[in-house]
Amino acid sequence: MKPELKKRVVKGPDGLEFEVEPLHDYYCEAPPAVHPPAYAKIVEDFLNWARAESLWVLGFGTGCGAIEMRPLMTPRFDAYRYGVQWRPTPRQANLFIVSGYLSVKTLKRAIRSYEQMQNPKYVIGLGSCTINGGMYWDSYNTIKCLDDYLPVDLYIAGCMPRPEALLAGFEELKKAIRAGKAEGANKYAEEFDWYKANQKKVIHDWDMPDYNW
């Protein structure tokens, strides 16, 4: 546990001393909850259509695949045509693209970022590294099966996939969202304990709250 997360007594600017327990005071301790569908199917379908048409990507370059996202943003491939745009922070995004291999150290950050995103949220695994380890299949520090740790809605195969493959992937994801099949966030909430157990199995120095809300 990091020192700044430990329970401690701090002295305020007014000279008063008070106790701070960061995990309790600064973070929400409630686990994620399942987000129920709207009261009528037609409303839910409408919401899903709206969600599909505004995919906001968290610009978190986790591996070498992030290099393919730059041409995707810029005029040549121009993903903005499809309602896909990049956001700088997890709290503004609803699509997390894990763009390549995840070392254990990066996985920790990826989990934190994913959990900070608002519902409904989707995860795309990009490249063969996220699917089965890719060329890092025998690395001492790289996870090989991303869907053990985060609920992946869609994989795009390739090493690395070209921007065209990503655009096709976005279209597939939109279809899945419109059909109401992209329920990754709910799956994460339902099987929260299983995901946490898997995450803690590889992250040996767990120094963050269980749910980083």
Binding site: W137, Y140, N141
Partner: protein, 179 residues
């Protein structure tokens, strides 16, 4: 390079000189003479730049080889000092720190401590994690660390992955008729 070597040999008990190129050479040195040699090279011979500090694991000889690569900017000339230290089978090896000669050495020493398990007493921030976080096994760059076994035990495999021997596969593809 040869003149410098002959001069250094009058001062320190040097080993053989290995000349890789006209402007790159390596020389072996006992560990206790490292600091005077580095100081002399830095202050009197113009080798002011520590290019890198790295290690080689000679598992069979039970030794670590540390290479201190120095560069003379004005002559565009590199000299590597090789130090052999004892490599204990378990636990940390120890070497003196040179972070006071070159502050950048502290970073290399943190890396060596994490990846090879070589301790440099007195080096700043040595105990902090460098690249790995929460590492529990033996240092991963030691040659007796079985990377593949560790990866298989720690991380789940997705079933269905096939591995082909490149030699056999290409043979099959190019010379399928056996010629």
């Amino acid at each position: 390079m040869r003149t410098l070597y002959n001069h250094l040999k009058t001062l320190f008990p040097l080993g053989e000189l290995t000349e890789q190129r006209s402007n790159l050479a390596f020389v072996t040195l006992p560990a206790e003479h490292l600091r005077p040699a580095l100081t002399h090279l830095r202050d009197h011979e113009g080798y002011t730049h520590l290019v890198l500090l790295t290690a080689v694991d000679w598992l069979e000889d039970e030794q670590f080889q540390l290479t201190y690569l120095l560069s003379n900017r004005t002559k565009a000339c590199d000299l590597g000092l090789r130090i052999l230290i004892v490599r204990p089978a378990e636990g940390m090896a120890t070497m003196q720190s040179i972070h006071d000669l070159w502050p950048t050495a502290a970073t290399y020493q943190r890396e060596l401590r994490e990846m090879f398990g070589i301790e440099f007493p007195g080096s700043p921030r040595l105990e902090e994690d460098f690249i790995l976080e929460g590492w529990i096994d033996k240092p991963p760059y030691r040659r007796d660390f079985d990377t593949k076994k560790f990866a298989e035990e720690s991380f789940t495999n997705r079933p269905g992955r096939e591995t082909h021997d490149p030699e056999q596969t290409m043979k099959q593809q190019l010379y399928a008729d056996g010629k």
